[in-house]
Symmetry: C2
Subunit: 408 residues, 2 copies
């Protein structure tokens, strides 16, 4: 029995969090910009990172720190990506060292993440100076998770936070997470930043396997703007305090854990797509009847990534020709004359294309459907029996505004 | 000696053109929407088309009509793409039949193109009704080329038209063309619509070879929005009236012709990128020192296609981190620590990144450089000695406005 619960990254036993203002950028003092998440016990840990050839310094440091599959804590800042930046790796290591000193563990047990502008030196001194305050603020509470979730936000307009509870081997197991998204979101592995915690007992190998299986069907199925960031990181810490028999192989316990992890990550991924920079609509695109899941995914991703389709959703214009066009240049082979397209939302469901040809549809109803926040684009291909869902958002004046002058 | 000349699609001997208003869409009567280009003599003809799996009806018809490598004329309309439309191929054939009847040739000698909204039935009756007027308006003049160039425009704000003169085998040879671009521009073969004429004597095989060689280094190196259209078509008619010894194999004559064709198509491609929907800037991205031309092209295309880089150019923000980020997710392997980046324009040249790290640069000068219409992004990789240039444009509020409500 899987339930969504409160508490975010502090929902699982033994996890405390905090978020404070350090002044990494010239932020207003109310903007929290450094987050810390600490487990009371050692954790099996796993992470997935950006596949961008240009990798931020903290990504490189995390890979080294995760070589033993263990971690105790995560420290993260917003306001500067520490990518292509002078002294990048040295400054990422300094963040780890400062956190390790306060916690009383080895620097190699700390994971570090940064998000913000690329190419400028990180103000690591400000972060080091705030660590004592950050450590003192640690709590296991919904408020503390909220503070950490806010501290990693950049152009995000709402925090991304979720938690679930399930049963593994007869024990109650909790998983929680915080994430940030907004722009430069087209994850190819993990996503911008996502920190997950669980009290499930699970080996490093199996948590890595579960995270890979989950990332590919959640974060890797969203896109805001087609730009794969240099900093994408999704990590999970599992401290075992739930008391279940440790998961060390595939089986019913692993399946229960995986189901919960996937539900959690799909929720966070949807929140990220929904709060894409400037977005007014969440687009959920489901492709059915594809010849394989991979084919369905390629096509669904091509649709949610199409600038023209995104602009049509912004304009509440049922311009389904752009959906077919995006399918056609996806790289997948298919018969256009077997494609049906529906638009759907809380306001209704309307078929706009049958067998690859336009239908005379009710434009007023279509407009009403597309005016809702959550829009479905449902494609049926009659090529096979596989399905995939991807999530994206519309492109708006505000996206241009935000990104026309992001650095200043 | 290669010179740009006046006359567009009528620059070459024996080509006449016209453009009139037929009322394909509910256009204002001043909007010309049907164009005709006719050669006085039979032509060797070649074309390249979209690689989109979803192909417009005229693309399918043209492929059949070009099976003999010959053509006499092109008829084209704006206002409706005749893609995913009821009676698509039948209506494309009706356009050919109407033109053939007026000209007095076989319908198979006519090429047909359409551009505009996808998925709606083409008002072919309006086109048939206007053919007598269209035929009567045919002229060999700059004015006639201008009328045809305007007739194929959709959201284009300026016509795209160019012509060149060169010497082939001791004879003066002219090549001219008109094109339309604007949105849904990310050509993968030809481009939206481009009609080229030449009086060069050249075989069907060699003109096809020259067109392929040219398309891949001109139209296939531009992007407005990453959306590859269903209608991309670039065709060339060669009527041989220049009197040169016919080009039937590679050699100096072929090279002279190819050089002229490439100069013509690069010019039209630049005009297309420069007039991308809503664009305020032409972006010319040159990648040098790559390990191969293909690698340089992939990276340059990734940069000009990056929504975030396009938004930064719109905001005159020297956010070079987005350039590195786009290089990194291009799919090409390279060492980021060897990359230099410059921004350049008529206002100056500024290096912003050296060896993959940010430089302290003069932000005022950078802003001044990026405020010009024509912006250069110059990347040096130190991986090899190959170079490629691609062309794109910025993304603006107007792009969103135009595409949020294109159909109505």
């Amino acid at each position: 029995m899987l339930n969504f619960i409160e508490g975010g990254v502090c929902a699982a036993q033994g996890f405390r969090a905090a978020g404070v203002h350090a002044g990494v950028k010239t932020h207003a003092a109310w903007k929290k910009d450094v987050a810390l998440i600490v487990s009371d016990a050692d954790c099996a840990a796993a992470a997935v990172f950006t596949k961008n050839v240009v990798k931020a310094a903290p990504v490189l440091v995390d890979k080294a720190h995760l070589s033993d599959g263990k971690a105790r804590a995560v420290i993260a800042n917003s306001g500067n990506a520490n990518a292509c930046a002078p002294e990048g790796e040295a400054n990422a290591e300094r963040m780890c060292a400062a956190a390790a000193k306060a916690i009383g563990c080895a620097p190699e047990d700390i994971l570090v993440s940064s998000t913000g502008v690329i190419g400028q030196r990180l103000n690591v001194e400000a972060i080091e100076a705030c660590v004592p305050e950050l450590y003192a603020a640690l709590e296991r509470s919904a408020t503390a998770s909220d503070a950490a979730a806010h501290a990693i936000m950049t152009t995000d307009t709402v925090k991304k936070e979720a938690a679930v509870e399930t049963t593994v081997g007869g024990k109650t197991v909790r998983l929680g997470g915080i994430a940030k998204g907004s722009g430069m979101i087209h994850p190819n592995m993990g996503t911008m930043l996502c920190f997950l915690t669980t009290d499930c007992a699970i080996s490093s190998e199996m948590i890595q396997t579960a995270l890979l299986e989950t990332a590919k069907m959640s974060f890797n199925r969203i896109s805001v703007d087609g730009d794969t960031s240099t900093n994408d990181t999704c990590c999970v810490l599992a401290n075992g305090l739930a008391g279940n028999a440790a998961i060390t192989a595939k089986g019913p316990d692993y399946d229960a854990f995986l189901e919960a992890l996937q539900a959690l990550c799909v929720q966070l991924a949807r929140e990220m797509a929904s709060d894409g920079e400037g977005a007014r609509h969440l687009i959920t695109c489901t492709v059915r009847g594809a010849k394989s899941e991979e084919s369905a995914e390629t096509i669904a991703k091509s649709i949610i990534s199409s600038t023209l389709t995104k602009a049509a959703v912004f304009g509440a214009d049922a311009n389904w020709g752009r959906v077919l066009c995006a399918m056609g240049y996806s790289g997948e082979a298919f018969d256009p004359d077997k494609v049906d397209v529906h638009f759907a939302s809380a306001a209704g469901d309307i078929q706009v294309c049958a067998q690859g040809r336009g239908l005379d549809f009710d434009e007023d109803l279509a407009k009403k459907i597309l005016t809702e926040h959550d829009i479905g684009i449902n494609v049926s291909m009659q090529e096979g029996s596989d399905t995939c869902t991807c999530w994206g958002c519309d492109i708006t004046y505000d996206y241009i505004k935000i990104n026309g002058d992001y650095r200043t």
